[in-house]
Amino acid sequence: MINPWIQGRVPGAPMNPTLGAWQNRRKLASAAWTLPQWVRLSLHSAHLFWYQFPELSLTAGQTDLTRITVTEDFWLVAVMGRASVASIGNQGSFRFQITEEEGAYKYSKYGQNQSNFAPIAQEPGLVRIPHFIAAGSPVVCKIQNLSGSTTNIVDLCMFGYSTWWRQ
């Protein structure tokens, strides 16, 4: 018969009777939809960084390109976007597609609506496994204004962790 007051105890760790004999004595946490521990460990000491695409002011229905160049190795964790025009229906007010010119890697088969890929910082839509972008890669974003009547100012950025200042 296993004695729960002895079995599995960490030597020296104080017993906390309020937890009950069968309760886990380790810190308890539920797994969040975020970077898992092994990813965070492998990225330790990487510095937070935002790559901001130059802002586009799109006339009604206009499509245009904006681009940045990733200067240091970068692990993309979230794409965030903000537009001056309120969401049209529930699809957002712009549609966009991101492409890495290095190898022309596309992030999506076709353009995605704002609501599906460009949240804001309040609910950033983190990825579980960061997407790696090598230093020097140009990243191009093609944005289409979904408003047929109003000029739309679109701000899009990529948040993640950079090897900049990595020690």
Binding site: Q7, G8, V10, P11, G12, A13, P14, M15, N16, P17, R25, R26, K27, T34, L35, R40, L41, L43, H44, S45, A46, H47, L48, F49, W50, Y51, Q52, P54, I68, T71, V77, M80, G81, R82, S84, I120, A121, Q122, E123, P124, L126, D155, C157, F159, Y161, W164, W165
Partner: protein, 225 residues
Amino acid sequence: MRTSDIRCADAGTTRSRAVDAKAWRPARSTLDGGEGNRVVKTIRTIFDLDQHALDLANEMPVAMGSSQVPALTQDQMNALQADPQIMELGGQLYIAKLFHYIVNLTHAGNDTQAQSFQIDSDADFQLLMLIGSRTSNALSIQVTEGGAGGLAWQSAPVNFDNFVGTAQLPFPAGLIPQLMPKKRSYKVTTIDTSGTANTVQVDFWGYKLYPAAMAAQLGALPSPN
């Protein structure tokens, strides 16, 4: 491979060195200097497996970046598990005390405002979340380190709503621990394009990290059970 790690399946005793010499050994590697870290055990029953799992569990948690720093001692691991205020960074234990660094900026409209703040000299600060409020979202923000020409946190000013969240939905910028060292100054610049008055507050939410030895001095020592 350590001799003491090999146990006889039937007797549960440690084998002699002579017996050990015939046992299977992992290939020598230049990385571990021939001393493999693997613990080899004979697991014959479910109870042995249970014990093995417990032994492994007792070895966790390892220090972050444990390839660069020595593993935590048993006492450190016990402290880490027994007190939620204690956290580990780079192999050292710290008392984490909740703290907010606040920056307030007021725009008349279509203008740029800047304000600096400095991390207090008593403790390093671990950034956890970015929170903020503004009157209008026609606003960009940038954060740079140190004085003029300091390294920036972004390639160009970022829309305010893409940079900070709210208390209800904070932005987890510190998913990878971001240490803001004591005494370092940071400059927050906001650029308003709304054309009207814009009141802005930026909140760097995180923990001041005091050495674990200061627990009593900080009043952070829990009463003994």
